[in-house]
Amino acid sequence: MIHYDKVTKLYNGGSPAVMDVTLSVEPGEFVSIVGHSGAGKTTLLKLLFAEVDPTEGDVYFGERNMRDFTDRDLVNLRRNIGTVFQDFRLLPTKNVYENIAFAMEAAGRLDEDIEADVPHVLDLVDLGEKMWSFPKELSGGEQQRVAIARAIVNQPDILIADEPTGNLDPINTYEVVQILKKINDLGTTVLLTTHNKGVVDSVGRRVVTMDQGKIIRDDESGKYSL
């Protein structure tokens, strides 16, 4: 489904953030990418939704090389990838309902679908009562759950979660991990980056370990071991 082929990424000619990485992810997998800060985890994910382009090597999505993607292809790709970030990245001037509805509207979904699905997905993340609140009125954990609801509302094939528990307390961290596992159980491929040992150990699935831009371990059912 996803294949990184000898990918290197240099930022402004500096030292490589990702160096000569080759990695494949199959549909339905839950892959935890772990490593210290600056190991290249986030860059690896950014390459997947084309927020950055590889300096060398290629990233394949299905059979297609992402270098061949047009702007229109990229928009369609992003509608097929849900993204969750450490800093939540919600739209501050839109309330919870509108934040989630926006992702559906951008995908061209009908108003009736939006009216039915948004409350449903908010119930899934247990935020039905906060539907009309604005992001600044929510706690960190609640904002992250809104971000997850937005990421899954279009039923994407892939969910990318970049340090989703980085700003959360242990209780919220546990809840977010449970939601991600549930999404994966429903068939969505999940790529999670974290440096939280507890999160990786509780997921108990494939673990890719990075250090200084390189993959140094890839365990099918691993634990955090840095």
């Binding site: 939704f49 084309a50 927020e51 702007d71 229109r72 990229l74 928009v75 369609n76 790709l77 992003r78 509608r79 097929n80 993204t83 990245r89 919600l90 739209l91 501050p92 001037t93 839109k94 926006f102 992702a103 509207e105 951008a106 995908a107 061209g108 009908l110 108003d111 937005r150 279009n154």
Partner: protein, 309 residues
């Protein structure tokens, strides 16, 4: 397509009101920009009106001999009217000239008595020629100087006694210079002020959108197409321009009314309030049009840089 347009418009309106402070700042700056443009339009109209008044005070008179036959004078009048530089030609017959003279001196019995002593009307007919531009009087005068009526052809005596252009040449030349300089200076200042204020408005909107750059990134990440991201900002830009335009038109009303009498005293016949009322459709379309186009274009260009792949 229709549903996208509806959603984009809704987000544009909602964003405009929810980002109240940013919208207010953008509107204030655009109001200043549009006010400068409106003030320049009014100042330009005042300048043109004054220059027109000055221009209308200038003409070239051709005085004919008392023996000049009327048909020859009228034939010369037709030739002059055919010149492209000529705006109008007024014919004053000998009788009219005498009547005008008497009227002018009706309180001067001595002059009138002296006139009575003469057996014949001593005044010749004349043509008062007005050019489209003051700079064109010289070429008209040269035409008159070389006309057969002035030089005389064969046995025919010249019928033109005097062309008064050369007596007034210095004044006309200076006036032409003043008019040309005023126009050039006016255009120069207007272009400078318009460019400066447009750049300020453009940068204000750019700054307003700069504060939303993270939001634009998020919109892209959730799969919004370029127009879906750009559209609400363009709608908000149009609203900035529209509201600013309306504010300018509303503020101009009492200002034009207040300045009106003073402007009439200063410029002669030009009254700012009369101009505001008579040129309102023009002001309306120019001010709102510039506002809306400036708002939309600034937003479009400002968002464009964040949409690059």
């Amino acid at each position: 397509m229709w549903i996208d347009l509806k959603r984009i418009s809704r987000y544009g309106f909602v964003g405009f009101f929810r980002n109240g402070f940013v919208s207010l700042a953008a509107i204030l700056i655009m109001t200043v920009t549009l006010f400068v443009i409106a003030a320049l339009m009014i100042a330009g109209a005042a300048l043109n009106s004054t220059l027109k008044q000055l221009t209308e005070k200038v003409d070239v008179n051709v005085y004919f001999t008392t023996e000049a036959p009327e048909e020859s004078i009228l034939s010369l009048k037709n030739s002059i009217e055919a010149l492209p530089e000529v705006s109008s030609v007024a014919y004053t017959s000998r009788e009219e000239a005498l009547a005008n003279f008497k009227d002018r001196h009706k309180n001067d019995q001595l002059t009138l008595q002296a006139l009575e002593e003469l057996s014949d009307n001593p005044l010749g007919a004349s043509l008062a020629i007005r050019a489209k531009e003051t700079s064109q009087y010289e070429s008209i005068s040269i035409f008159l100087e070389n006309a057969p009526e002035t030089t005389g052809v064969g046995d025919n005596e010249p019928i033109v006694e005097k062309v008064n252009f050369f007596q007034n040449k210095t004044v006309i030349d200076r006036l032409t210079d003043i008019i040309e300089t005023s126009k050039r200076l006016g255009y120069g200042i207007a272009i400078f002020l318009i460019i400066a204020s447009i750049l300020i408005a453009f940068n204000t909107i750019r700054l307003a959108i700069y504060t939303s750059r993270d939001e634009i990134e998020v919109m892209k990440l959730v799969g919004a197409g370029h127009w879906y991201v750009r559209g609400p900002f363009v709608i908000a830009g149009i609203l900035y321009g529209f509201v600013s335009g309306v504010v300018v038109l509303l503020v101009l009303y009492p200002m034009a009314l207040w300045i009106g009498p003073a402007s009439e005293r200063f410029f002669g016949t030009f009254n700012t309030f009369d101009y505001y009322i008579s040129a309102f459709p023009l002001l309306f379309f120019v001010i709102l049009g510039v506002g809306v186009i400036l708002g939309a274009l600034s937003s479009y260009l400002a968002v464009h840089r964040y949409l690059k792949h």
